[in-house]
């Protein structure tokens, strides 16, 4: 017989904790299980499905959200750890217009295909541009190197981020650096 942990009681998982945070600018509270990740809480309880689950181990960045202004993997933290934080998801960033220029450049250059990595890409690109207003192509590639995209080959994404940076700097859009 294979080993079974007889001490395990699934009933333990019934416990519920209330977490409160500022989500996309609104005070929000949510009942979560202690084992729920922030990703579970956002997607399942709060129905913010723009944040995606790709690997659940911090390797693909489909789950990125802004937590107190920094891009974090929502699959790698428990929802209870986000208590008191300020969280922004792709939905909030879209509605506020904070990433409208990045979205427009991604659209214009078709820097997405299936779109599953796209929210995480945008959030990471947004964080990059908030810290480095004029990144080189190598710096953009480096900053995005934790975001897995199987569809695009990355180049159009790099182009789009570079173009958004150039526009923010008031310059003209640079096409391929090559």
């Amino acid at each position: 017989m294979s080993e079974i942990d007889t001490s395990f009681d699934p009933g333990d998982a019934d416990e519920v904790v209330r977490v409160r945070f500022v989500l996309n600018g609104c005070k929000t509270s949510c009942a979560v299980a202690p084992r729920d990740t922030l990703l579970d809480c956002l997607r399942n309880s709060l129905e913010l499905t723009g944040t995606h689950a790709g690997c659940e181990m911090g390797a693909c960045a489909a789950c990125l959200v802004l937590l107190d202004g920094r891009a974090v993997h929502s699959c790698l933290m428990f929802a209870v750890q986000a208590d008191g934080a300020r969280i922004e998801t792709i939905e909030g960033l879209s509605e506020s217009g904070a990433i409208a220029d990045l979205q427009a450049e991604f659209h214009r250059r078709n820097a997405l295909q299936c779109g599953f990595c796209t929210p995480g890409m945008l959030i990471n690109a947004h964080e990059l541009l908030s810290q480095n207003a004029a990144p080189s192509r190598a710096e953009i590639r480096d900053a995005l190197s934790g975001n897995y995209c199987r569809c695009t080959g990355y180049e159009a994404i790099v182009d789009a981020v570079a173009a958004a940076a150039a526009r923010r700097a008031g310059g003209k859009t640079k096409d391929h650096a090559s």
Partner: protein, 791 residues
């Protein structure tokens, strides 16, 4: 080889224009609607207990404690599902002599790979279902596992299927004749054995399915992350005994597919069965660990090849032997032998030669199934062919470009059949070769390479010509008895407001199907693209069709849309002619207006025709019945496949101390016939190239001796990320197929087809001064250092 101008090339045509995808804005705003996002009322969640052994007999299963967990609705084993689901077998008639065991959603007696689903729990939440899995006890009796390819082929080897005689699934041979003679009179013979690692698609959205059965309506509805909803409608209907018209499969946004999401998976069939048993919606989303052990894998080939050449470097013959291992079953319904079949048929395809002999052996082993994944067989055939040409060039003392210019089929030699029987309508290898040479600045790169070698910097340059199979006719699957359609259908309606709705059977996974279909319909009907709404991915909405596989969306789906639009246009003009008291042939549509065909003078808005037809039919002549909805099907005829061609180049730098490879730049010249949307074609090429670069340098499913997958997570299985990937320069030649009005062929697999081959050649180019060579992909740093004798 540039196509003559037609009506598709007029200055304001949507065809040939880089318009952004209308449906991409939704995805950018986080408003995608993937199966993983869908919640249905009363929906339950399934989880699967998986085999820890690669091969074992199931002695007993104890599920009592799991059944007792609060929130658990059902625990099911193989026997429970076998009662309502008929078994399936992954063989096709045109692969003579192939065998594979019947499969069921969950096994009855034996597990045949580590990770195979054995028991399922359905509960209120996924977490609760996984809790209950912890309480299931399965008693296994381990059996000898067949892991290694060579061990599997030995006489007396343990058998994957103990009732069988050997581990052979399928053998095939091709012989055009004259091979032995050619080798006997050859001035040069080059020979190599090349191996290709097992890898897996790693779509970012894992497999996802929600099945819902309404017993009162007798209706099964499945939300399924798949490329091929009609294929699954047919399969669910037949295997669960539900009338086809009462099975609806909906494929919403799909988070990547690449051929992986068109195979029958055991868990998916189980979920449909569970929904029928429970009469409630049941959802299953593979987690990443489950994806690695249950999604199809691909490749895993070893090819021994010989090439005979005359004194001048002209190819006389090739003789190849491909051995591939496919896991414990052949995949259903497309089989696991198509890749090997395409490897032996595509080897040498870009080149002019007569004598070819090939043997294929397809072997079972205790691993997860392999099957069709982007560019099926192409990367292997291309790498074998192109490596042989580089070896030949070295042997004969010719430059890689020169020996290819000498041997590639001439651009004016078509139509032409390959020694393996493929029929080529018109290709442009020589022009592509010349374009690539200029685009790469090949001579400059060679000069730079020589100069840098003086400073201990080792750069490599590699090129690889390829053909790609696109627009498949029934010759691909239909002739083998598979109920997989090679035709597509579209229903076009003019709405009362004068807009057009197009429901079409080709599907969208982000490649831009909906964009190009709306471009074609808008172009043909003379409407603005934003007035064309395209619907895909729902068997209840669109006609039956092949959907998306093997590069058929633009070529077959696009032609379907074009022909349907022409039928609707004729019907619109017929009504317009009655209203305007003209002949239909004297009228045309432009910018949403009926115009005089000769003078282009506006006569009446299309919206006005729609208004009259729908709301004031009393004002039309008696007997008039306006047909402003048309359904139209198109099946490819003429050539069995529309082959495309192209060539790629790779420039890289090799660190001989660490074995690391830095990709500096990648180049593609590609000919996919008529280009509908250049931006989308380039994105297909770039994405495809990067998938091939991953295969070349990073990706490999590594197994231990007992058949355990050792690197089944995204932290351990390396995929290409932004930092390692180069910029990719692209150029096009356009040779439209004459089999269709549109002239489009596919472009989705071209990037993957040749990328790994030209990396292999470039690495070997960099290694050449050391007398070292690589004959396996992925080309890991360890393999490089081993080749250099430094590891």
């Amino acid at each position: 080889m540039i196509a003559p101008l037609t009506s598709l090339d007029r200055p304001n045509s949507y065809i040939g224009r880089s318009v952004p995808r209308p449906n991409a804005k939704r995805l950018l705003a986080g408003r995608g609607h993937y199966v993983t996002d869908i919640k249905l009322p009363r929906m339950l969640h399934a989880a699967f207990l998986r085999s820890p052994h690669a091969h074992a007999r199931i002695a007993s299963i104890d599920v009592e404690r799991a059944r007792a967990v609060d929130g658990v609705h059902l625990v099911a084993t193989g026997g429970d599902l076998a009662k309502i689901c008929t078994p399936w077998t992954g063989t096709l008639d045109h692969f003579k002599g192939m065998i594979s065991e019947p499969q069921l959603p969950l096994p009855l007696e034996r597990v045949v790979w580590a990770g195979q689903a054995v028991v399922t729990v359905v509960a209120e939440s996924r977490a609760r279902a996984e809790d209950a899995l912890e309480l299931i006890a399965v008693d296994y009796e381990e059996l000898p596992a067949v892991v290694d390819l060579d061990e599997a082929r030995k006489p007396g080897a343990p058998l994957v299927n103990p009732a069988g005689h050997s581990n052979v699934c399928f053998r095939s041979q091709l012989d055009s004749g004259g091979v032995d003679d050619a080798f006997a009179r050859a001035a040069h013979v080059v020979e190599e054995e090349l191996s290709f690692g097992r890898h897996t698609p790693v779509t970012l959205e894992p497999r996802a399915i929600i099945a819902d059965y309404d017993p009162d309506a007798g209706m099964l509805t499945v939300h399924h992350g798949t490329q091929t909803p009609y294929q699954f409608q047919d399969l669910y209907s037949r295997h669960f005994g539900i009338p086809e018209a009462r099975v609806r499969v909906i494929a919403p946004d799909i988070g990547g597919s690449f051929g992986m999401k068109l195979h029958v998976y055991h868990e998916d069939m189980a979920v449909v069965g569970l929904a029928i048993l429970l009469r409630r919606p049941v959802k299953f989303v593979a987690d990443r660990m489950e994806s690695f052990v249950s999604d199809i894998h691909a490749r895993d080939h070893r090819v021994r090849a010989r090439m005979a050449l005359d004194e001048s470097g002209e190819i006389l013959a090739m003789d190849v032997h491909d051995v591939t291992a496919i896991g414990a079953f052949s995949t259903y319904p497309r089989t696991s032998v198509v890749e090997g079949n395409q490897v032996i048929r595509l080897i040498g395809a870009p080149y002019r030669f007569r004598s070819y002999r090939a043997a294929l052996e397809v072997i079972f082993q205790n691993k997860v199934q392999t099957s069709q994944y982007r560019a099926v067989g192409h990367p292997i055939a291309c790498a074998v062919t192109e490596r042989m040409f580089d070896l030949a060039a070295m042997r004969v003392g010719r430059d890689p470009f020169e020996i290819r210019a000498q041997n590639l089929i001439a651009d004016d030699a078509y139509p032409l059949a390959s020694p393996t029987g493929y029929k080529f309508e018109a290709l442009s290898h020589q022009l592509c070769l010349r374009r690539l040479r200029d685009m790469m600045n090949y001579d400059g790169l060679r000069t730079e390479q020589a100069a840098l070698r003086e400073h201990g910097i080792h750069r490599g340059i590699g090129i690889a010509s390829f053909v790609e199979i696109t627009n498949p006719s029934p010759a691909f699957y239909g002739v083998g008895g598979a109920r997989i359609s090679s035709q597509d259908g579209a229903t076009l309606s003019l709405t009362p407001s004068g807009e057009v709705r197009c429901a079409i059977s080709v599907t969208e996974q982000g490649q831009g199907t909906e964009a190009i279909v709306s471009q074609i319909v808008a172009d043909q009907l003379g409407l603005a693209q934003e007035h064309v709404k395209v619907l895909t991915g729902d068997t209840e909405v669109t006609p039956h069709g092949g959907a998306t596989w093997a590069c058929r969306g633009a070529g077959i789906g696009g032609e379907t849309a074009l022909q349907a639009a022409r039928v609707l246009k004729a019907n619109i003009l017929e009504i317009a002619a009655l209203v305007l008291q003209e002949q239909p042939s004297a009228l045309d549509i432009e910018g949403g207006e009926i115009v005089d065909a000769a003078t282009r003078q506006q006569r009446l808005a299309v919206a006005e025709i729609a208004r009259i037809a729908y709301f004031r039919s009393d004002t039309l002549p008696p007997g008039t019945q306006a047909q402003l909805t048309v359904s139209h099907h198109f099946a490819p005829q003429g050539y069995p496949f529309a082959f495309t061609n192209g060539i790629q180049g790779c420039h890289l730098e090799l660190d001989v101390e660490t074995g690391f490879i830095r990709l500096l730049k990648h180049f593609v010249v590609e000919d996919c016939g008529r280009i509908i949307n250049p931006m989308l074609v380039d994105e297909q090429l770039r994405g495809g190239v990067v998938q091939g670069l991953g295969a070349a340098l990073l990706e490999e499913c590594r197994y231990g001796e007992t058949g355990q997958l050792l690197n089944g997570s995204l932290a351990d299985y390396l995929v290409p990320m932004a930092m390692e990937m180069p910029d990719i320069v692209i150029d096009h030649v356009e040779t439209p197929t004459k089999d269709t009005v549109l002239g489009a062929k596919g472009c989705g697999e071209a990037g993957t087809a040749a990328a790994s081959a030209c990396v292999l050649n470039a690495v070997n180019d960099a290694l050449a001064p050391f007398g070292a060579a690589i004959n396996a992909i992925p080309i890991t740093p360890a393999r490089v250092l081993k080749a250099l004798g430094r590891f």
